[in-house]
Symmetry: C2
Subunit: 383 residues, 2 copies
């Protein structure tokens, strides 16, 4: 298997983009990545998307996006792993190039979520859970995360405010990211007084949806000469049961643990080597669980990293340096690609006020469902 | 890129399976393929499916199916290319194994379409077309094919009955396939008197939907010893515009031409070497267009192959030997996998009354949308 490098990135601002279609948003990010890579097309297009069928009445999305981006007759396919679709699309593109089947691939994530009534969006998000055994019982996706968070607080004795640093850090970092959806700082007081959604998850525990697209251009590493190369040094996708009640321990992300271990092994690194970590902070509880499963904190001690101020761009393990799902925004099927785009920006040293000094190794972890599909990528800047 | 072989197949009968869930149907086919291959799991699961989000309120389908099939923690992803999803899933699995990233993969296609009101299914099928520029104008998927067929008849002077042999052959062959949805022969008289759906497409031009799943187990060819090996000798996916009105010639499947040419080149064969061809006969007109694009007939002369009796199992180019989409049935996202399963059955000599004598090289062509995504696979039995 040959090594693969990222040579182009593109993204749109995450926002309510009512005046633009799904294909236009996708094409904007793709064309930006093509331009950044200095190419006019690629051999294949891998599109991460979760809900175009449900919300936009559009399947066969990748063919549509290929046409809108001027990429016909390139192979094109849509990949769905719910909110993990973006990471899964990168996996698919990576294997296509690593196999030698394609010489280049465009990996994109796109989602358009704000045109519909919130009830429809809530129902669409619930399709990431088990339709027969969770959703049928009336639980929403936020509700599932609330059940996990409540149990976690009970088991380990945390209070709600202990999760605040994850959200505060994300909002602070998003201030410097022009593509982020939310551009306002929040305080501990804001966090504590925020509107309740599903106890104990309140509005500032949760990430906002949005319309947006991000894209990556990948090629065999051997074809890249001169300057720094951004290599995909580790890539692993692992599944767990989709229904939370089927897991032996709902407070441990087993798939995150296995996925991170595989990616560490491939990259020849460990948690201590990671300079920046873009994790899947759809809800603050997921930040804690991800940090623990990936070896950055002991079981039940994830919130400690935030409280001890280790997660800012100058901290021990900088998180959500461009705003994370919490403040950059969470256009679900696109999120996994945004994360990797942002790690590339860090490794290129393009992050300005939130630049992690000397960042050379970065990790992105994308989650589909409440821990059902977990995809970890480790990137290395090779000088 | 290493060569890949198919060592296991599985399928369910295509039917109305109202008493069984999507995951149960998928697991039945997967478990059959695992048993056939003599393995308990695989490193990855690639699920072709088009409409689980729209009709079953279930995304993240691959994680769900992995759990139902006992395949956790294997990597799992759903692949969508509309009715070409099955073929696209095989491409994804193929690249995963060919790259060396995985040592084995389970490729499945599944669809559950009969629980819903026909109006909902018609709307769900239309998501394979361009939502903004075709469906918004009120055209259904059958309607698009009717427009193509009418134009084709006008341009080349065929009458409707000239397409009958495609349907008659498919129904005759399905009589001997226990997994087929339809088990009744049809005559030219039946064909001509059948109910009109969208002029000139009548009920016997069109394939029936259904609930069903099919699965393949693939491994590196170098790991297979003893007996015949079924190799994936050619595999190519090509896109065209999704909207038919954007194509320079709506009567030529440009993506089928390019896809077949790539697959022929990879396999080192030409149309004259193909012993059996499972094409995408969603409508009789698509049989004619596919045969022409793949080099079996001159432009506008596809129906001639049926009229001259060249398409039966003992003919020059045997088509739909297990019933095709027309009579085996068309559970959309599963169809591409059924086609490949059936080619494997031919190459193994397991087709009884519809066995093509001495079949060694077979081709399957799967189409997403009205020609937008076309995936061609060529299999070779290597003794």
């Amino acid at each position: 298997m040959r090594s693969v490098a990222i040579i182009g990135i593109g993204q749109t601002k995450i926002d309510e983009q009512w005046e633009r279609s799904l294909r236009q948003i996708a094409a904007e990010a793709i064309c930006a990545a093509l331009k950044d890579a200095g190419h006019e097309s690629a051999d294949g297009l891998f599109v991460g998307n979760m809900m175009s069928g449900v919300l936009d009445q559009q399947n066969n999305l990748a063919a549509l996006v290929a046409e809108a981006s001027g990429m016909n007759p390139a192979e094109a396919v849509k990949v769905d792993a719910a909110c993990g679709s973006g990471g899964a699309a990168l996996r698919a593109g990576l294997m296509a190039v690593a196999s030698g089947e394609l010489e280049s691939a465009l990996v994109a994530g796109v989602e358009k979520m704000t045109d519909r009534h919130p009830h429809e969006v809530t129902a669409a998000l619930a399709t990431a859970a088990d339709a027969d055994y969770e959703v049928e019982m009336g639980v929403t996706f936020v509700g599932l995360n609330a059940l996990i968070m409540r149990r976690y607080m009970h088991e380990y004795g945390w209070k709600h405010a202990d999760f605040a640093p994850f959200a505060i850090n994300a909002h602070a970092n998003a201030m410097h990211n022009p593509f982020a959806r939310l551009h306002h700082r929040i305080t501990l007081d804001d966090f504590e007084k925020s509107a309740m959604i599903a106890t104990p998850v309140n509005l500032l525990d949760a990430s906002p949806i949005g319309d947006g697209a991000a894209a990556l251009y990948i090629v065999p590493a051997e074809s890249v000469f001169g300057g720094a190369r951004i290599l995909i040094a580790g890539s692993a996708s692992v599944t767990d049961t989709i229904a939370i009640h089927d897991r032996p321990d709902p407070l441990f992300l087993g798939a995150a643990y296995k996925s991170a271990q595989q990616a560490y092994r491939q990259a020849g690194v460990g948690p201590q080597d990671i300079d920046v970590f873009e994790l899947h902070d759809a809800f603050t509880i997921m930040s804690a669980l991800s940090l623990e499963a990936c070896g950055f904190a002991e079981r039940g001690q994830g919130p400690r990293l935030g409280l001890d101020d280790h997660i800012s761009p100058s901290g021990r393990i900088p998180l959500m340096t461009r705003g994370g799902l919490k403040a950059r925004g969470h256009p679900v099927g696109a999120t996994g690609v945004y994360q990797v785009v942002e790690v590339v920006q860090q490794l290129r040293g393009e992050c300005g006020e939130t630049q992690v000094p000397g960042a050379r190794i970065g990790m992105a972890q994308n989650i589909g469902g409440s821990g059902a599909t977990i995809i970890t990528h480790i990137l290395k800047a090779e000088l």
